[in-house]
């Protein structure tokens, strides 16, 4: 087949891919070029091309700031706690749902627990700000039971817990979907055979159901590695306040405040680059592990 013949058939393929390439170049690759601001004393008036170069100075300054260790630690703690809670919760919920034999009941429960996933953090945040307020319904319930009212969003003792629990609320139902799909793929013959051999219900869960979803658990554990710096930007930006920066400020909210609110573009650019760099390796590693241990390939 000559090139001419090839192109006569294949040219539309190249024409089709051009618009996607243009958009990705403009809004994905061009901003990558913009990471040079992390090595400059950037001012918007001079732009990427004419701002003076300062080498690693922004990074040296960044690593010397006490906030840096704080936001990095907060990010890791919140993100890892969320991943663990979400995965453990999803597995338990999926197992319980799988044991509930009434289909109508199961569907109803699923309908109820998936809903928060589809609502924005503004809607959920608005709800949380109301119910967790000092005079909100939760504190009223606590007070009427004789407890003490708590600042769930305004105190450093509570903030991380509130973020983790509300993240769980939004996401756990949805995370069960994958496990439920894996559970339905388990061959029922295995259950029948072991029941004939005298295995009770819990032995069957332990020896058949759990091993049956083990590949899915391994896969999701590997993929979640890519999320250990994703503590939930939109959620925390909605829920936090200066009172809880000590425990609740994360890398993304920090970049937003420093870079766009206080206009220290280069410093924020350095933090952003630091995160992008680590995330890139984490995601690449997570895809590698998912392929290696669970045979999952995105391509």
């Amino acid at each position: 087949m000559t090139l001419r013949q090839y192109l006569r058939r294949a040219w539309p393929l190249y024409a089709m891919i051009v618009p996607g390439i243009v958009f990705v170049l403009l809004f994905r690759y061009y901003p990558m070029y913009g990471i040079v601001i992390a090595f400059q004393d950037f001012s918007p008036a001079k732009g990427f091309l004419h701002s003076p170069w300062v080498g690693w100075e922004n990074f040296e300054f960044l690593f010397s700031l006490p906030e840096f260790g704080r936001v990095f630690r907060n990010t890791l703690i919140i993100a890892v706690a969320k991943i663990v809670a979400d995965q453990v919760g999803a597995i338990i919920l999926a197992l319980l749902l799988n044991e509930a034999r009434l289909m109508l009941f199961r569907r109803t429960i699923q309908t109820m627990i998936y809903l928060p996933y589809f609502l924005s953090w503004i809607v959920l945040g608005g709800i949380l700000l109301d119910i967790l307020a000092p005079h909100g319904i939760l504190n009223q319930a606590i007070a009427s039971l004789g407890g003490e009212r708590q600042l769930f969003l305004g105190s450093n003792n509570w903030f991380r817990g509130t973020v983790i629990v509300s993240g769980f609320w939004k996401n756990v139902g949805f995370s069960t979907i994958i496990y439920l799909a894996a559970l339905t793929a388990i061959n029922p013959v295995l259950h029948e055979a072991s029941a004939i051999d005298g295995a009770g219900r819990f032995r069957r869960i332990w020896h058949i159901t759990l091993p049956g979803i083990r590949p899915t658990m391994v896969l999701l554990a590997a993929l979640s590695l890519g999320d250990v710096l994703e503590a939930g930007f939109e959620q925390i930006l909605t829920l936090y306040s200066p009172a809880v920066y000590r425990t609740g400020d994360i890398i993304d909210t920090h970049v937003y405040r420093v870079g766009l609110v206080s206009a220290q573009h280069s410093l924020a650019g350095a933090v952003g680059l630091f995160k992008s760099f680590i995330s890139f390796f984490l995601i690449a590693l997570s895809y590698y592990l998912a392929d290696r241990f669970a045979g999952y390939r995105i391509l």
Binding site: P31, I37, I113, S120, I131, K275, S276, L299
Partner: protein
């Protein structure tokens, strides 16, 4: 199905039904509470007497919300964003996924293009440089700033590509023998056969556009250009009822808490309307993406 009628197994069943019911009710309780507050009169809402049933039932909070011009404008901006953004997303997803779903023999250079997109998905220039790119393109305060930067959601495109690859090759081969071009094959074979995947990704894109708010917060310098969720943020998070078109005199009659509740509920209604479809397609969609063999 295996019947297990031992005493302990039955006890577990009962316990399981109760546990799941309680958990599901807890998931919904906050929404129900806010809904009840939004339908309540000023005194009980402000005093916090409302739990899960409205007191002094009134629709005035909703009338106030719907009557606000800023609110209706933000609603229209959101609808425009969902319609234009979702169409653009789907157009680019399908158009880009089709060539990439071909074998390297049929589409030379495929590997390079795939890596071009995958790298762009994995590595991010970050918030600040992206902001300046959007600004330098003159997109601030335009609808373009909300729909163009993520015009091609790469992960969705990869899901579409994987779906296209599962379409039997014999169909297109016979079409090519009959003289069809790639355009016709895409339009007459691939798209009709991929409708479930397209429906899933369309819903995903529409929900993302409806729920997005942060981009407008940074790209819109004028509150008048805010879409619904971003506008809602000024009210329910910043607790600012002054510059958003609520008449202060009405606040003497109505509870600001109930008005906020009504705003939240109105922003949720479109999601509830498509929720049955979301549930149906998302379950097949997530399986399409995640547990593919």
């Amino acid at each position: 199905m295996i019947r297990d009628s031992s005493w302990f197994s039955r006890f577990f069943d009962g316990f399981n039904y109760v546990l799941l019911t309680v958990f599901a009710l807890l998931c919904l309780a906050p929404m129900v509470h806010i809904f009840a507050v939004s339908l309540s009169g000023r005194a009980p809402a402000t005093a916090g007497f409302v739990s899960f049933w409205p007191i002094d039932f009134t629709l005035e909070n909703y009338e106030e919300v719907m009557g606000s011009r800023t609110f209706s404008r933000s609603f229209i901006i959101s609808v425009a964003r969902v319609l234009s953004g979702t169409s653009l997303n789907m157009f680019l997803i399908i158009l880009t996924a089709y060539p990439l779903s071909k074998t390297p023999r049929a589409f030379k250079g495929r590997a390079i293009f795939v890596w071009f997109f995958v790298f762009a998905m994995l590595f991010n220039g970050g918030l600040i440089p992206t902001f300046f790119v959007v600004r330098n393109l003159g997109l601030l305060n335009t609808l373009g700033s909300l729909i163009l930067p993520n015009a091609l959601p790469i992960f969705s495109m990869i899901l579409m590509m994987n779906f296209f690859r599962s379409v039997p090759k014999e169909l297109e081969e016979s079409a090519f023998i009959d003289g069809a071009s790639h355009w016709r094959v895409l339009w007459h074979i691939y798209i009709p056969l991929s409708l479930p995947a397209i429906a899933t990704l369309t819903l995903l894109s529409a929900v993302n556009h409806w729920n997005a708010w942060f981009d407008a917060l940074i790209y819109m310098t004028d509150v008048a250009n805010y879409p619904m969720q971003t506008y809602l943020r000024t009210i329910v998070v910043e607790l600012d009822l002054t510059n958003v078109g609520i008449d202060p005199r009405d606040l003497q009659r109505l509870s600001d808490r109930a008005i906020r509740g009504a705003q939240i509920i109105v922003a949720t209604v479109p999601i509830l309307v498509v929720y049955p479809f979301l549930q149906r397609y998302f379950i097949s969609g997530i399986v399409l993406g995640a547990v593919k063999e």
